[in-house]
Symmetry: C2
């Protein structure tokens, strides 16, 4: 139908990549951002990073031979997707508040 809806994992990954960060750092950042609620499984994260890169929403930074870390960063296209997602989520919250109020 539509292909706008991001999963929670992807949303938090993109939010984390407004500044360059590596995979494991994303897991920790998301954990912190969500106050421990969202703990990304390794399979989810590394799979998603590949998918997001092939979609052009994130870029892999040149690898640093002195480090094991592979850093990624949000692209302009990724930032657009992220902003649209925030609008979509806001709509969900508004509708939820409207229809649940008084309960």
């Amino acid at each position: 139908m539509q292909q706008q809806a991001l999963t929670e994992a992807v949303y938090y990954i993109l939010l984390s990549l407004q500044h360059p960060l590596h995979g494991y750092g994303i897991i920790q950042n998301v954990d912190e951002l969500s106050k421990g609620r969202v703990k990304l499984a390794a399979g989810t994260l590394y799979g998603a990073l590949n998918t997001l890169e092939s979609k052009g929403w994130i870029d892999a930074l040149p690898e640093n031979p002195e480090s094991r870390k592979k850093e990624y960063v949000l692209t302009a296209s990724g930032k657009t997707v992220l902003k649209e997602e925030l609008l979509r989520l806001s709509e969900l919250v508004e509708n939820g508040k409207k229809l649940l109020e008084g309960n």
Copy 2:
């Protein structure tokens, strides 16, 4: 990891079932609620209704032999899930606004 996150389809279905409604009515209601953005595919809807009923989040109302319509309604348990989901979505929006502001 967690099993809290609802999909957009399920969220809107639950929101629609605070009052009794049948499947096709849900499709129309969600279309309207989302201003045409979310058009549930039939396979998504009828599959989800079965899943949600088996989870005890919605109940099927007694069938009316005079009508083709099968009505469903939210259970107390379903309402709890829906409220928790609204909190989760609010957290996503807050985090998104915080990290995207100034962009």
